[in-house]
Structure formats: structure tokens, C-alpha cells
């Protein structure tokens, strides 16, 4: 069996799967060849290139079988919570109760990409007046109404306030269609006024104590409805255990990012790293399995780094990526152009930072929720990005605009200006639609340009004075 590390096509995975199977590869019950997901409609897989390890196979299968898990959970008597927008807070609370399982309907934003627009989620959104001027998360509306992509949750909880308008407006449209939603307020994080008591948040941001206290009270409302739904008490002990488990996931991801982004040779492709990071938000509907998947992935990455093996050239330009891409294929494209990911800010760095364990759990969760990079000034987010760029040694920044997203209208300028002035590295903005095939020549040209610039700067910096 050829165990050379490389990114392979789905066709190559077909053959490799048979080889691995014959060699005795053990798989979890959701395992199987990736090809079967194409038969379910996930046609974008035919265009992607994947890491060829069993660990990556398990990661992909875990991701692509989430809907089955949600149905199984319901069949097993669990209640389903649809957490919306907060990206990382409410699921920690929900998974503290064994009667509940939580997921993000927001994740439907990748359906148009993964199914290459073959699912009618966007046309349903269109028919409800939510057209392409909105962020691709409008696909969520179509997913709810079609009922084809996830079971209808028993409870919907949505954070509003300092959030993007697209999501808030779409959630309100859903609410207007008869889907009850518990709205909870996440306040705009601000710097403490003179004389105001300040609290340091996970990740290093600072907020006034009064804001933390307000968010804590909002999360108390969430706690009450989760208790009501589950029929049990969500006490501090249960929450503390839930936080510890969430932190285990975050710790594994932190290590995966540190090892993966700082290695001389890129040990894991951008696409698999992106999917691994996404697990932090809601554990893909199975927290224990998330931990197992990440452990296996981390073992693989560590082994590759130890033996100095990588999936890309050592010359690859080290790119920091801002915002998730609506089309997964663009992560492949970056690598095809000679880049590699060395640092990311996919809108949810607060779901990667460890939740403080020395505090009361509700206080810790409130601090974590307020550390969301999207609820504060873009300059705060930019500062965090600069700090991570320094830690991971990125040489250039790509800001991936999300079509129609309200935050993308101005944040790129703020982030770009700060990165350039603090670090003097090139920054570029691109816009990635859910299926980017028609604009890929333009995106490719721009990616090649920034990669070339980054490599040129590297040469200049390493040249003798």
C-alpha cells in the first residue's frame, strides 16, 4: 500500500479506501467510503482534494453523517436544541445535560456549496424574499422549510444584539413563519469607561464587569429553558463538567492548531484543519466522538511533524485566513497556488479559547460569550489576528468576504489597515460565493499574487544585508 502523504481526489479515495479496508482499518459505525456521500447529493466532494489518512477519513465521515446522528438522538428520546448565531456558547450548556443534543442550523450555509446548488434551499429563501443580497446563511431558511437537512429542533435559541444583521433578519423571518425562538441578548462589547470595573475575557479582550453580569443574566434565561426542555436541573456541577468536556475539545484543537500552523512542513491540509476547527462549535452533535476524532487527527499530525513529513512544499507561503469560505474548494485552491494555512480567524476564536474553570460556570460562560470576536470592535478582532499572526508566523493575510454579510462591508478595511501598520505584511480581500467555479480564475490570480508577494518578502528578509 502506498502511504505517501498527499492530497487526493475522491476517485483516489475510492481505491485507497479499499486498500485501507483490506489492511484492516478499523472504523466507527458511521464510517465507510466517502463516495456514498456523493450519492446522497454532496456533489462538491467530487471537486475537492482530501488528506489521505484514515484520521481524515474519519473526520469527513463524522462531519457528513451529522444529520443521521440527530435523527438517532431523537429516536433515542433526546431533545434537539437548535443553537443559532452565538457559535460556541449555548451548546456547551446543552451538552451538560445528557437529555439534550445541540446543533447549529447556521451550518446550513454550506449546503449550497456541498450540494453544488442542487438542493432548493436558496430558491426557498428567494421565495420568502431573502435573496442573494443576504449572506449565504439564508440557506438555513430553506433547510428549515424543506425539512430535508436536519430534524426540526424542539427548541430554537438565537443570540441577537451585537450580531450581523443578515442572521438576525433571517432568524426573525423564520420566527415570523411560526418557528418560536428564544432570543437572548449579546451586548456590544466595549472597553470599560474610566473608573469602571474591568474583566479580562478568554483570549485577552477586556470588558466592563457590568456587561459580563448582563450576559450572565441572559444565559440564566437560556439555562431555565434548557432545564424546562430536558425536565432536569442544570446545576453548576453539571455545567462545570460540561465546561471541562468542552475544554478538552478546545485543548485538542489548540494543540492541533499550534502544531499544524507552526510546523516547517504543513502536516494537514487547510480543508481538514477548517473542518476540525468547526467541531469546536457544537461537537458535530456528539461530544465524545469529537474528542476521539480530534485525538486521532492530532496523533497523525504529531507523527508527521516528528518524521518531517508534509502534504505541501516547504516553500509554501504561510497565509493567515480571516472568515470561513462559503466554498470549501477555495481552501484547496490556496494550496494549489502555493500557499498553506498558518493561522485562522473563522469568526469563532471564542469557541477555541479555553473557558475559565476557576470561576462559577455561568460567569465563565458569560465571559466566553463576550469574547466573541464579532460582538466587539473590528479593531479588537484585528488586534487578536495580529497576535495570532505573530504566534504562527504567517507571512500574509487573506480576508475572505462573505457575500452580502453586513460585517464584511467595512471590517476588512479596519483589519487590513491594522495588520499592515503593525506587521507590514501583505493583506488581500477576496469574495467567495457558495460555488465559486465561475470566479475561480479571478480568485486564483489574486491568490497567486499575494503568495508571490509573500515569498518575495521572505526572500528579501532572509537575504544578507
Amino acid at each position: 500500500m502506498n502511504d505517501e502523504l498527499r492530497r487526493i481526489t475522491l476517485e483516489e479515495w475510492d481505491a485507497r479506501y479499499i486498500e485501507l479496508h483490506r489492511a484492516g482499518m478499523a472504523e466507527p459505525e458511521y464510517g465507510g467510503p466517502l463516495r456514498r456521500h456523493v450519492q446522497d447529493g454532496d456533489r462538491r466532494l467530487l471537486k475537492l482534494r482530501f488528506d489521505n489518512s484514515p484520521a481524515a477519513l474519519r473526520l469527513w465521515n463524522f462531519l457528513l453523517t451529522e444529520e443521521d446522528r440527530l435523527h438517532q438522538a431523537r429516536a433515542g428520546g433526546k431533545k434537539i436544541v437548535g443553537a443559532m448565531k452565538d457559535l460556541g456558547t449555548v451548546p456547551v450548556m446543552a451538552y451538560s445535560l445528557r437529555q439534550l443534543v445541540a446543533f447549529y442550523p447556521d451550518g446550513a450555509w454550506w449546503i449550497p456549496c456541498v450540494m453544488e446548488l442542487s438542493a432548493p434551499v436558496l430558491s426557498i429563501a428567494d421565495s420568502l424574499g431573502i435573496d442573494e443580497s443576504f449572506c449565504p446563511v439564508r440557506a438555513m431558511l430553506g433547510a428549515f422549510l424543506s425539512g430535508a437537512h436536519f430534524p426540526r429542533p424542539d427548541l430554537l435559541i438565537c443570540s441577537v444584539g451585537a450580531t450581523c444583521d443578515d442572521f438576525s433578519a433571517i432568524a426573525q423571518r423564520l420566527n415570523g413563519l411560526g418557528y418560536p425562538i428564544l432570543w437572548w441578548e449579546i451586548a456590544q462589547r466595549r472597553h470599560p469607561d474610566p473608573g469602571e470595573q474591568a474583566v479580562e475575557l478568554p483570549g485577552g479582550f477586556v470588558a466592563p464587569e457590568a456587561q459580563v453580569s448582563f450576559v450572565r443574566s441572559e444565559l440564566e434565561r437560556v439555562r431555565s429553558v434548557l432545564e424546562e426542555l430536558s425536565g432536569t436541573t442544570l446545576d453548576d456541577d453539571a455545567l462545570s463538567s460540561g465546561i471541562r468536556r468542552a475544554n478538552e475539545v478546545r485543548g485538542l484543537l489548540g494543540e492541533l492548531r499550534r502544531v499544524g500552523f507552526t510546523a516547517d512542513l504543513c502536516p494537514l491540509p487547510a480543508l481538514e484543519m477548517l473542518i476540525a476547527e468547526m467541531l469546536a462549535i457544537h461537537f458535530c452533535s456528539d461530544q465524545d466522538e469529537t474528542i476521539s476524532v480530534l485525538r486521532e487527527l492530532l496523533r497523525e499530525v504529531r507523527a508527521r511533524v516528528k518524521t518531517r513529513k508534509g502534504v505541501l512544499s516547504e516553500e509554501a507561503a504561510r497565509i493567515f485566513w480571516v472568515n470561513p469560505v462559503a466554498d470549501l474548494h477555495v481552501m484547496n485552491l490556496l494550496e494549489d497556488c502555493g500557499g498553506r494555512i498558518c493561522g485562522t480567524e473563522y469568526l469563532f476564536s471564542h469557541a477555541l479559547d479555553e473557558i475559565p474553570e476557576g470561576l462559577s460556570p455561568m460567569e465563565a460562560l458569560a465571559r466566553m460569550a463576550l469574547a466573541d470576536p464579532m460582538v466587539g470592535p473590528a479593531a479588537d478582532r484585528a488586534a487578536r489576528i495580529c497576535s495570532d499572526i505573530r504566534a504562527f508566523g504567517a507571512e500574509a493575510v487573506v480576508i475572505s468576504r462573505i457575500p452580502g454579510a453586513s460585517h464584511c462591508a467595512t471590517e476588512g478595511t479596519v483589519i487590513g489597515d491594522l495588520v499592515r501598520s503593525e506587521l507590514g505584511i501583505p493583506v488581500m480581500e477576496i469574495e467567495v460565493p457558495p460555488v465559486s467555479d465561475s470566479v475561480q480564475p479571478a480568485i486564483r490570480t489574486r491568490l497567486e499574487a499575494i503568495i508571490e508577494t509573500a515569498k518575495e518578502l521572505r526572500k528579501r528578509c532572509s537575504a544578507p544585508a
Binding site: D165, S168, Q172, Q188, P377, T413
Partner: protein, 325 residues
């Protein structure tokens, strides 16, 4: 006297005036202009107009921006970065059904007070605040009473003048003009000064705006103050009148808007809706179809970009009214 400018109706003018400062709710002219919010894809024309106006503002001392929309929330950062004005970002909660949301609004009003004191204002006593509130209430009542005495455009302009100056227009609030034709509601976000021409287009086409439910119009006038509460706890009553009574699309849930519309549309015999929204304004855009289905009456969706020609707007309104007549 120092001047504080803003555009959001959730900023209580009485609170600013009670601190000895001049509140000035801007009526913006145009979305065109230079940086910092340039012609970038995705930037709402109104948010751009606001940033450009405030960045070039020479007669004001500070600006208050609120969090009622994501683009304005982020605009505050651009203004603070690029303008000579001191900027205050006021957190207006999106939720409104809890005591915590109301408390947060009050806390933000108090924080605004601290900002104004640092700017040179003087914190008012409860009595002083109540006195200013009474004056505003009386002036607002005079403006409200002028409805029906003025043409629909004059009435909406009188509201805009009151919002800007804190007093009704100097000219008489009686024009003797009688509203004729098909009664319409004008609904949506704020109007630019140049968009008041919509009222004329409607009248020329055989209708009139019976209900100005835009952000610039009567929808965002705070409710009259309760006299007893005004005496006992003016700040709480100020909160009730602003945070507790102004219906808007951004609120979650935004059921108050629909309740208010149902009542006002019924009272005014409205037969059609002109829905005015800015390109990239998700909050109002997402309501268009819902309102169309809910209101069960014809609706004209006027999406306003940067380069909209008046002729196009006039012609669309003309066709809309031709259908209604």
C-alpha cells in the same frame, strides 16, 4: 452650547438637552461623498451618508451612534478612528421583553450622561430632567396636532425639523390643504432629505401619504409621557417612552411593529404601502415580503441605491397608484 449629533430615534433628545447640550438629530442629505466609508460593495447608502456627513461635521462636538444595526454599530468605529468628533456608541438592546433589556437601556442612557459630563455637560436633577421632558412633550404634541392640517410632506418635514431642533418649525403648522386621493403608508428606514420628494410624487400620481411609518416620520416619535411617572421617576418614564414604545424592524421579536402598523393602517384607511429600504439594509429588506403577505394590500418595494434617479422612483410610484385607483 455644545452640540451632539445623531440619527437614531432611540437616543433621547431630552436627556441631552437636560445636560445643557444641544441635541441635533440629523436629516442626512446624500449618500455620496468621500471616505472613510467609500463606495464599497455591501455598504448601506444611509450608513455611508452618516459616516461621510459626521466625518465632515464642523458644527458639532460629539456624535452618538447606536447598535440598532450592524453597519451603524461598525460605523461608530470608523468615525472614532477617522473623525475629529468624539464618538459615543450607545448599546440599544435588540430584545425588549425582559426587565434586563430595559435596565440595560437605562444603564446606557446613564453612561451617555457620563460621556456628556466629560464633554462639559452638567448632570441634571430629576426635577430638571422632568422640566425638559415636559417642554419636549408639549412641542411634540403640537407637531402631532398638526397632522391633518398640513400636507403629508409638510407634516413629515415638521417632524424632521422638530427632531433636528427640538422645536416645531417656525412657520405656521396649518396649510389648509386637504388630503385627497388614495391613502398610502410610507414604511421603512430613515429618509434622506432628498427623498421627501416621494411625497410629491405620490400626490401628483393621485394619492397621499396618510401614514409616514419611516424612521424619519411619526413611527419613531416617542409616546407622550405619563404625567405621574414623569414626576416620580423621569428617567424611567423617558425609557418607557423611547425604549418601550418605538416600534422597529430590528427588535426581536419585532411584533410591536406589526401591532402598531395594524392599528395605524386601520385608523388611516391605508390602501397600499410604499416600502422604502436601502440596498444592503438586511433588517428592512427581510420584512418586505412578510409585510406584503401580512398586510394583504398592494406594496411597492422601493429599493434605494446610490445612483437612483428621481425619474425612476416617480414612474414606479405612478404605476403603483394607477393600479390602486
Amino acid at each position: 452650547m455644545k452640540t451632539i449629533v445623531y440619527v437614531c430615534p432611540f437616543v433621547p433628545a431630552e436627556w441631552i438637552a437636560a445636560h445643557g447640550l444641544r441635541p441635533r438629530r440629523l436629516l442626512l442629505d446624500s449618500s455620496k461623498g468621500s471616505s472613510p466609508a467609500g463606495i464599497t460593495s455591501g455598504v448601506c447608502p444611509f450608513a455611508r451618508a452618516f459616516v461621510n456627513r459626521v466625518s465632515g461635521e464642523s458644527e458639532a462636538d460629539a456624535v452618538v451612534v447606536t447598535t440598532v444595526c450592524d453597519q451603524m454599530r461598525r460605523a461608530a468605529e470608523l468615525i472614532a478612528r477617522d473623525s475629529a468628533l468624539r464618538a459615543f456608541l450607545m448599546n440599544v438592546p435588540t430584545t425588549w421583553q425582559t426587565a434586563a433589556a430595559q435596565k440595560l437601556y437605562i444603564a446606557e442612557v446613564r453612561r451617555l450622561g457620563g460621556f456628556m459630563v466629560r464633554l462639559g455637560g452638567k448632570a441634571p436633577s430629576a426635577q430638571e430632567l422632568a422640566e425638559v421632558m415636559r417642554e419636549y412633550d408639549a412641542a411634540r404634541s403640537a407637531v402631532r396636532a398638526a397632522r391633518g392640517q398640513l400636507s403629508s410632506r409638510q407634516y413629515s418635514e415638521a417632524i424632521a425639523v422638530f427632531n433636528r431642533d427640538g422645536a416645531p418649525p417656525a412657520a405656521s403648522l396649518r396649510s389648509g390643504r386637504e388630503a385627497r386621493g388614495v391613502p398610502l403608508a410610507l414604511l421603512g428606514g430613515p429618509l434622506l432629505a432628498s427623498q421627501f420628494v416621494i411625497f410629491d410624487f405620490v400626490e401628483r400620481a393621485g394619492g397621499y401619504i396618510a401614514l409616514d411609518a419611516t424612521e424619519t416620520g411619526e413611527r419613531t416619535m416617542p409616546s407622550p409621557f405619563d404625567r405621574r411617572l414623569l414626576r416620580d421617576n423621569p428617567l424611567v418614564e423617558l425609557t418607557n417612552a423611547y425604549f418601550g414604545s418605538i416600534p422597529d424592524a430590528f427588535r426581536r421579536p419585532n411584533s410591536q411593529l406589526y401591532i402598531w402598523l395594524r392599528k395605524e393602517i386601520g385608523k388611516r384607511g391605508v390602501r397600499g404601502i410604499i416600502f422604502q429600504r436601502y440596498l444592503w439594509c438586511d433588517t428592512w429588506h427581510a420584512e418586505v415580503q412578510r409585510i406584503r403577505e401580512w398586510a394583504q394590500m398592494p406594496l411597492l418595494d422601493l429599493d434605494v441605491g446610490d445612483e437612483d434617479a428621481e425619474d425612476r422612483t416617480a414612474s414606479r410610484i405612478q404605476s403603483f397608484l394607477a393600479m390602486l385607483k
